[in-house]
Amino acid sequence: MKRVLYEITESVRIALAQIRGSKMRSALTALGVIIGIIAVTLMGTAIRGINVQFNNSLAVLGDDILYVQKWPWHNVDDWWNYANRRPFYPEDAEALNRIIASTPNSQLDVAVPVAGRSSTVRSGDNLVSGVATFGTTADYGRLMTADFQTGRLFSETEANSGRPVCVLGSDVAEALFPGGTALDQTVTLRGQPLRVIGVMARQGSFLGIFSFDNQILIPLNTYRRQFNVRGGSLEIRVKLRDKLHLADAEEELTGAMRRVRRQVPGERDNFSINQQDAFKEQLGPLKEGMAFAGLFITGLALFVGAIGIMNITFVSVKERTREIGTRKALGARRRTILFQFLVEAVAICVVGGTIGLSLTFVACTAAQHAMPNLPIQVSWTLVASALVASVVTGIVSGFLPALGASRLDPVVALRYE
């Protein structure tokens, strides 16, 4: 046992001496591994970043909220079955809340009607167009995931009486009142002055498509009056009591909605219940595919590095055939020789891997300083897997030449010129 330990120590010592002895060659060989490890780790970081951003975005949607809408969040072939669905009315939400209140042990907490459209908001000379404008009730506060930067949401009284008040997303507030405070200022929506009673904290965007900071919330009654909406075109958001009982809640909600919509048994649901998981399910395979393709392509870079290592180990074995013969004559076993060359290949790979990892770390830190919004994180998992990848690369690429070396006939090896 001790003997193996001495052999290992000796192998490491020889490997390091060998690397020191042919610096240029080792450096060039390691370069292949360095590039490979940089490529793979950068890709790993990027994939992780995308994942983090994706999950952050989904978290803004709320993982405990069901969206009752006309359309499902996945593609449908029979669009005509959905297009003619009856719209939702604020009274539907009220009816739903009554059912929830009368159901013992309901999995549902509250139903909130939300109407939405795009509009232009002004303040003085400042103007923001394409603002997501939502009309809702005071219950919206119970399912909001964002905090308030300043101020508050409208109260039930304000909402019911359709007071001219509004809550701004942080981007809108910033654009309309650059450098100043938006609270208690007045903005104009379709000619109607609205008093700002709150500004929401920054939330970021959903998959970079839709910004949650570019929105304005007003009481639903104000909204309906303002946009002259008689009927529907709204959705009902339902908050769950416990997100762990999602399936039960969905079933309960389906039943309740059928009652609200007065559907007869056997009739197809004329509404869709959506949940953020639908996005996950839809985008998950896409995400995984991208991650797989990315890692595969960057893995090729590492593979090229591995070929470099294999090549250099073959050369090293050839050059040192006499040395191998001598070592065998002095009592080195096959295992000893095999190990010596494996350690050499692994050492170059680990050195290359460490350098590559450091460069990745520097690059990520620099990128983070340049763009603080990017969710870039170098994780310990990544560091560990990069080092494991280096060692595995060394073992895999060094194995064949090392095996060849260990099987050399000492007589032939000693005579080798």
Partner: protein, 244 residues
């Protein structure tokens, strides 16, 4: 500092010890393409502890093959070979490595030192393979180097040493594991004649200290130092007797 070689008649022939090597009717065949080469055609030798033996013969006589066989670098095609009573003929690679490590000290014509390691490291090498702990290893290597007169050169690398000094390092390496035999292949072949004489004087000392020496050479001058000379021709022993 090296005593001059005494005339042959005055040299002491030490009493031999127990049997170390027993080779009986050993043959070795090589295939070279379609041709079969009979390197050894039935050779028998017995070598006892504390013998000083020279193996001679022209090239192609089977001298190198016999040396590889004696050194357990190669196994015979047929015949038997016992080393200290252990049957070597049928051993696997790693078992042979073990025998070489513990029982045989090699001295090569081209020294075969590791260029990047200093003298001490080179001499330590067989002890590493034998599993000797580091401190003991260094001490034994240092003593071996002192015994060949290189106590002040232990941290020199081979390229910082003269040819004679390199061969002394190699001899120290051969001695360090206290082997049963020292097997030298043309030990003076790469040295000038004066240095060659020094090396042969060192061998004489080793012999007098009780070591068993086998020197493979084609030089009569070298063979004359041995107490017994085995001459090979065409894969057979031509003569085996005391040196003149």
């Amino acid at each position: 500092m090296i005593p001059p070689l005494a005339p042959a008649a005055a040299r002491e022939v030490r009493p031999v010890g127990p049997l170390v090597i027993a080779i009986g009717e050993v043959t070795k065949l090589y295939r070279m393409g379609s041709e079969t080469i009979h390197a050894l055609r039935g050779v028998s030798i017995s070598i006892h502890r504390n013998e000083y033996l020279a193996i001679m013969g022209p090239s192609g006589s089977g001298k190198s093959t016999l040396m590889n066989m004696l050194g357990c670098l190669d196994t015979p095609t047929d015949g038997h070979y016992q080393f200290n009573g252990r049957d070597v003929a049928g051993m696997a690679d790693d078992e042979l490595a073990e025998i070489r490590n513990r029982e045989i000290g090699f001295v090569f014509q081209t020294f075969n030192l590791l260029p990047r390691s200093d003298a001490l490291r080179n001499v330590e090498l067989p002890l590493i393979y034998a599993g000797v702990p580091p401190a003991e290893r260094r001490e034994r290597a240092r003593m071996a180097l002192e015994s060949v007169g290189l106590g002040n050169r232990i941290h020199h690398r081979p390229n910082e040493l003269s040819g004679g000094q390199r061969q002394r390092v190699a001899i120290a390496r051969a001695l360090v594991n206290r082997p049963s035999i020292i097997l030298a292949d043309e030990p003076t072949g790469n040295l000038d004649s004066r240095t060659g004489v020094e090396i042969m004087a060192l061998f004489e000392q080793l012999y007098e200290l009780g070591n068993t020496l086998i020197v493979v050479t084609h030089e009569e001058d070298v063979a004359r130092h041995a107490r017994r000379v085995v001459r090979l021709r065409d894969g057979l022993i031509e003569s085996d007797g005391p040196s003149d």
